[in-house]
C-alpha cells in the first residue's frame, strides 16, 4: 500500500486553482511563460506557487534567479519564497547535477514531492509540466486532479502539429483546457486554436531582451513579454 496517494488531496486542500503549462514539444518557452505567470500573479497580489515538474531539465529556478533558495523542513517540506512565489523544484535539492529518471522513477519523484510539499493557502499553483505527452504529463493531471491546462505553442508548424495531438489527449483524459498561448509569435496560431475549438488567449512576441533578464524578476516583469502574457492570463481568467 502506497501511503502517499492518500495525503496528496490534503496537501492541495488550500490551493484554489492549478494551472498546468504544457506543450507537446520542448523549447517552445513553456518554462519561461509558466515562471513569468507566477511572477506576474505575485505582483498582482495573488498567493501563488510554482511547481517545476520538468525533472530531467528543471529551469524555473533559473528564470526566478532562485539558485540559492532551499526548502525548509516543517512537518513536511515548505517551499522557499522567491519574489513572492513559493517555488518547488528538484533542482533545489539536486543543484545542477543531472537527474536521469526513467518513467517509473519520475512517477515516484512526483508522488513524493506532492506528498511532502506544504503549499499552505494558494490562490493559484502554476505547474511547469515536462515536454511531451508521456508518463510525466499523464501523472501530473492524474495526481493533480483539479488541473486546468494552459497550452503553449510557437507559430511553427512543428509545434502546432504536436500541440494538436496534445489538445486531443487532454480532452481524452478529461483535463479542461483554459486555452492556447502563442509564444514568439504574432497571432498566426489563432486559426489553429479555432480549428481545434480551443480558446486563443493571445500571443507573446519574441523579445531578445528576455535572455539577459533571466534570473532577474524585476527586469523580466518590465519586458513586453510580461505585458502581453498578462493580457493572455486575464483572457484565461487566471488574473482579474
Amino acid at each position: 500500500m502506497d501511503p502517499r496517494l492518500a495525503v496528496i488531496p490534503e496537501r492541495l486542500r488550500g490551493v484554489s486553482r492549478i494551472a498546468v503549462f504544457c506543450s507537446g514539444k520542448g523549447g517552445v518557452g513553456k518554462t519561461l511563460l509558466a515562471s513569468l505567470t507566477a511572477l506576474i500573479a505575485a505582483r498582482r497580489g495573488v498567493k501563488v506557487g510554482l511547481l517545476d515538474l520538468d525533472f530531467n531539465g528543471p529551469s524555473s529556478h533559473v528564470v526566478l534567479g532562485a539558485s540559492g533558495a532551499s526548502p525548509r523542513e516543517e512537518r513536511g517540506v515548505v517551499p522557499p519564497e522567491v519574489s513572492g512565489v513559493k517555488l518547488m523544484s528538484l533542482a533545489l535539492f539536486a543543484s545542477e547535477a543531472p537527474l536521469p529518471l526513467r518513467g517509473a522513477d519520475a512517477t515516484d519523484a512526483l508522488l513524493e514531492l506532492l506528498a511532502v510539499t506544504r503549499w499552505g493557502d494558494l490562490d493559484l499553483l502554476v505547474v511547469d509540466a515536462p515536454p511531451g505527452t508521456g508518463d510525466e504529463l499523464l501523472d501530473t493531471v492524474r495526481f493533480l486532479k483539479r488541473s486546468e491546462a494552459v497550452v503553449v505553442t510557437t507559430p511553427s508548424k512543428l509545434s502546432l502539429s504536436v500541440v494538436a495531438r496534445l489538445v486531443r489527449l487532454l480532452r481524452d483524459v478529461r483535463t479542461p483546457v483554459l486555452g492556447l498561448i502563442e509564444n514568439m509569435g504574432r497571432g498566426d496560431a489563432k486559426a489553429a486554436a479555432e480549428e481545434w475549438g480551443v480558446r486563443y488567449l493571445g500571443w507573446v512576441p519574441y523579445d531578445p531582451s528576455v535572455e539577459e533578464a533571466l534570473g532577474d524578476p524585476g527586469k523580466l516583469l518590465g519586458t513586453e513579454v510580461a505585458a502581453k502574457l498578462e493580457e493572455a492570463l486575464r483572457a484565461a481568467g487566471l488574473l482579474r
Partner: protein, 127 residues
C-alpha cells in the same frame, strides 16, 4: 528530521476508511529514504489519537536497499557506495535524487534501478 511527520500523516490518511478495524500495521521503511523510525513511530502514535486507528499497533521494519545497474547489470547495496551528508538529506526528501548522487560502483552509470528498499510502504492487518 520533521519530514517524518509528513510521512506519518500520509500513513494515517492511507488507512482511513479501511473497514473491519485495523489492529496491526506494518510500516516498511526503505533504507534509501533513511527515515528516522523513532520519530515516525512517535508521530504515528500522536496522529492516530481520535481516529479509528486509536487502538492500532504500529510495527516498523527496515528494508535494506538494493540496486541494479541498467547499463552493466551489476547489483549493489547502499553500503557499497559512499553518500555525503547533504546528499543523504536530499535523498531523504525524494529518494529518486539518488540518481543525481549515486553511481554504479562497477561502471559509474547513474542509470540504475532501485530494486527494493526505496521508501515507505504500509501493510495493514485487518480483523
Amino acid at each position: 528530521m520533521v519530514h517524518e511527520w509528513a510521512l506519518a500523516e500520509a500513513v494515517i490518511k492511507s488507512l482511513e476508511g479501511i473497514s473491519g478495524g485495523v489492529k496491526l500495521v506494518k510500516v516498511v521503511l526503505g533504507e534509501l529514504q533513511n527515515v528516522d523510525g523513532e520519530i515516525l513511530l512517535f508521530a504515528l502514535e500522536e496522529l492516530k489519537k481520535g481516529t479509528q486507528l486509536e487502538r492500532a499497533k504500529f510495527e516498523l521494519e527496515v528494508e535494506p536497499a538494493e540496486f541494479e545497474c541498467n547499463a552493466c547489470g551489476a547489483t549493489w547495496k547502499l553500503s557499497d557506495v559512499g553518500v555525503g551528508e547533504a546528499e543523504r538529506e536530499a535523498i531523504h526528501f525524494v529518494p529518486e535524487l539518488a540518481h543525481a548522487f549515486l553511481r554504479c560502483p562497477s561502471c559509474g552509470s547513474p542509470d540504475f534501478r532501485v530494486v527494493k528498499g526505496r521508501g515507505v510502504k504500509v501493510e495493514p492487518a485487518v480483523g
